[in-house]
């Protein structure tokens, strides 16, 4: 079936929209400006739904939220100069969390490039360190090919952000649109998929002998859409499993093999298990410093199997005894099959489980609830879990509230927990929720926001209101930049330098000014009810929850310390 636009002369900007549609794009987030006017003119007639954000960072995070919620490539547009530089935070965020995204920026006319033209910025140069790849268009006929290549690079291997920079004059030029089809010609890009079967067999033979194994999985399993394969693998024997903050939901949280999240604010059980393990099988995780603490004292008794699609992550931080380069979706079933064929003796793990159960019994995750009406932040998460029945898509900002959500909301499915882990970008939550809701309109999407974070991106409330994107924001309002205050309390002698937020803004008034429905709650007896009301109300809703101002998030591995020196 030939497409109607083959070889039709059209503006390169129209060809850009056609190329996006050919990649299956339905939604785009962005803001128009001088340098991308031709693109926006093409958008006016194109069959693409454009959501007009209120800050390019919001558009970028929305594209990320869209991608993380759906597994599809998220797309954002920005104009040249300040528009493009406003995208940089979101691009860096997508890079750190391996989010498949394509960012298309307008650029000044070709004859102005390099002359400090109006709204000119070398966005390609600025983003070199934070993109998976980038394209600067120098001939308008390149556009369909570059888009095709960009989507391929963004979504294969280890996903990541790709930038396409289009000078304004080139996007107005007439070209003959020829859709780029088939595998893109990229001689230097051949991501691996299949793991080496010999390595896989070696790993299973080591695992069958291990007496204190731990399975350590992360965001890579979610990216690979390999949750079912992981669950199947876990059923092969009584392995204990822990997940990173990026991997939550890849394995269902309420489960007898679940140790809890590991790392800086992970459970003591998970961290002690890693510390005492004799074999750690890492799948789609990269031994980030929040997990390892002091590297020289990390998991001193363990040997490592490391399964990852990015060979550069293997042995980057921690030397891998058995490296397996491949896609988790491909490697895990083979691992399962080979392991089951060995018919290992499950009872060799009994002693290990004895120790694990003892830790779980002695160090359960918990907090001291208030005896009056004061809302403890952990209680707020539990109420949120109850009100959403554990089934919502939750996005968050960065800080204490993020860690409490990771600890107390028991994610049972992947792509329900959407947060900024690697870069830790405050303000991620609301725009990401907007993107997630656009991707999954039939699911309940809740942004758990921090007051320090939300005020950075509150302008996106206009985006949700005007486009009628009914996200719910549950604001954990403690009047502070909570995590920073906690560190100042614990490590800087309580010298609270510039962490108090005061009571500006009045969040209910502000949300209503943006056209949202807004509620407030400061009594724990009314909290679940308020949440249910918010969830049941049409349109975007903000629930301003006043919580205990000085609660600290524990347990904690202090920065640079070893896991066994956890505090709290």
């Amino acid at each position: 079936m030939s497409r109607p636009y083959n070889h039709l002369p059209m503006r390169a900007a129209d060809a850009l929209c056609e190329a996006l549609k050919a990649e299956g794009v339905e939604h785009v987030f962005g803001i128009p400006g001088g340098a991308n006017l031709p693109t926006y003119d093409a958008l006016y007639d194109a069959d693409l739904l454009h959501i007009q954000s209120r800050h390019e960072q919001g558009a970028g995070h929305a594209a990320e939220g869209y991608a993380k919620a759906s597994g599809r490539v998220g797309v954002a547009f920005a104009t040249s100069g300040p528009g493009a530089t406003n995208l940089v935070t979101a691009i860096a965020d997508a890079m750190m969390d391996s989010v498949p995204t394509v960012f298309i920026t307008g650029q000044v006319r070709t004859e102005l490039i390099g002359t400090d033209g109006f709204q000119e910025a070398d966005v390609t140069g600025i983003t070199l360190p934070v993109v998976k790849h980038s394209f600067l268009v120098t001939d308008p006929r390149q556009i369909p090919t570059y888009i095709h290549q960009a989507f391929h690079i963004a979504s294969t291997g280890r996903p990541g952000p790709v930038l396409v920079d289009v000078p304004q004059d080139l996007s107005r030029a007439d070209i003959e649109y020829e859709p780029a089809e088939g595998p893109p010609e990229l001689p230097g890009y051949k991501p691996p998929t299949e793991g080496n079967i010999k390595q896989i067999r070696l790993a299973t033979k080591a695992l069958a002998n291990a007496r204190r194994p731990v399975i350590y999985a992360g965001g890579g399993v979610v990216n690979a859409n390999a949750s079912e394969e992981l669950i199947d693998f876990m059923a092969s024997d009584k392995f204990p499993i822990t997940l990173t903050v990026m991997g939550l939901g890849a394995f269902p949280a309420p489960h007898e093999q679940w140790l809890g999240m590991l790392g800086m604010h992970g459970t003591r059980t998970a961290n002690y298990a890693m510390d005492s393990a004799d074999l750690i099988v890492a799948v789609g995780a990269r031994f980030d410093d929040r997990i390892t603490g002091k590297l020289s004292e990390f998991a001193p008794r363990a040997k490592f199997v490391h399964i990852d699609v990015d060979p550069a992550e293997i042995s980057k931080n921690v030397p891998a005894h058995i490296p397996i380069v491949g896609d988790a979706k491909d490697v895990l079933p083979k691992l399962t099959r080979e392991y089951r064929a060995l018919k290992a003796d499950s009872s060799r793990l009994d002693d290990w489980w004895g120790r694990i159960r003892a830790w779980q019994h002695e160090y359960p995750l918990g907090y001291e609830d208030s005896t009056d009406s004061v809302i403890k932040p952990q209680f707020m998460i539990e109420a949120m879990y109850e009100a959403t029945e554990g089934e919502a898509v939750i996005t968050s900002d960065v800080g204490q509230h993020q860690m409490w959500a990771a600890q107390y909301y028991h994610f049972s499915r992947p792509r329900r927990w959407i947060n900024s882990g690697g870069l830790g970008t405050m303000g991620f939550g609301l725009p990401a929720a907007i993107g997630a809701k656009v991707a999954r309109p039939d699911d309940q999407v809740v942004c758990l926001a921090g007051d320090g974070s939300l005020v950075m991106v509150c302008q996106e409330m206009a985006t949700a209101a005007v486009h009628d994107i009914p996200v719910k924001v549950f604001l954990m309002n403690n009047g502070y930049m909570g995590m920073v205050r906690q560190w100042q309390e614990l490590f800087w002698d309580g010298r609270y330098s510039s962490v108090e937020l005061g009571d500006s803004p009045d969040w209910v008034k502000l949300a209503e000014a943006f056209g949202w429905t807004a509620l407030r709650c400061d009594d724990k007896r009314e909290l679940t009810g308020s949440m249910r009301t918010a969830l049941g109300t049409d349109g975007p809703v903000l629930l301003d929850v006043h919580v205990d101002q000085t609660e600290n998030c524990f347990p904690m591995i202090p920065a640079g310390a070893a896991a066994r020196d956890m505090v709290g």
């Binding site: 390609t124 140069g125 070199l128 360190p129 998976k132 790849h133 600067l136 120098t138 690079i153 990229l186 001689p187 230097g188 890009y189 070696l202 033979k205 080591a206 069958a208 002998n209 291990a210 007496r211 004799d278 074999l279 040997k303 990015d310 060979p311 550069a312 293997i314 042995s315 980057k316 030397p319 891998a320 005894h321 058995i322 060995l342 018919k343 290992a344 003796d345 060799r348």
Partner: protein, 183 residues
């Protein structure tokens, strides 16, 4: 099957290799001949904290492909990480970390040396010994072009310094693999 049978792998037997090789590495990259490729490579090295000792860039027999030859110290940098990070760059097509006995490496250098009439003959003798060429002459100096291995250029520089080295420009090495006898 009981755990601990010989068919399974003993965890004590699992080892990892050393990350630092302790020697100089010459890495030859073939890259797409596109604008910005060199910037991407230099940027990668800078942000990962890898120090490039020398760098040479030039065309290859294929107009769409360039060659970048760089050297770095394997005593300081984990060479495996360096090559794996380079592989992630989309424009990098092939990477060869050339073993010392499997490569031919050459470098060119230009030396401007003090050579007034009284020591000119000595300088010209050095040039002859090193099979170097005199490419420029003035009243008080000679400019000498030397081509050869890294060691040869180092040796020439050591010989010439005491006689008054005014200025030096070195290209950095390029390398190509040795042919197999039957090729």
């Amino acid at each position: 099957m009981e755990a601990g049978t010989p068919d399974l792998v003993k965890l004590e037997d699992l080892q990892v290799g050393k990350t630092l090789t302790g020697r100089k590495h010459i890495i030859s990259l073939t890259v797409e001949n596109k604008p910005g490729v060199l910037a991407r490579i230099a940027g990668l090295f800078s942000r990962r904290g890898f120090n490039i000792d020398t760098l040479a860039v030039g065309p290859t027999e294929d107009p769409d492909v360039s060659r970048i030859t760089l050297t770095l110290d394997g005593a300081v940098h984990p060479i495996d990480q360096v090559t794996k990070q380079l592989h992630k760059l989309v424009n990098v097509i092939k990477i060869r970390d050339m073993e010392p006995d499997q490569r031919i490496a050459r470098e060119m250098a230009l030396f401007r040396v003090q050579a007034a009439v009284d020591n000119r003959a000595d300088i010209m003798q050095f040039a002859e010994i090193f099979k170097a060429k005199i490419v420029d002459v003035s009243r008080r100096s000679l400019t000498i072009e030397v081509t050869g291995s890294n060691d040869k250029i180092d040796a020439f520089e050591r010989m010439i310094r005491p006689h008054g080295l005014i200025e030096m420009a070195r290209t950095g090495e390029v390398a190509i693999s040795r042919s197999r006898p039957d090729q």
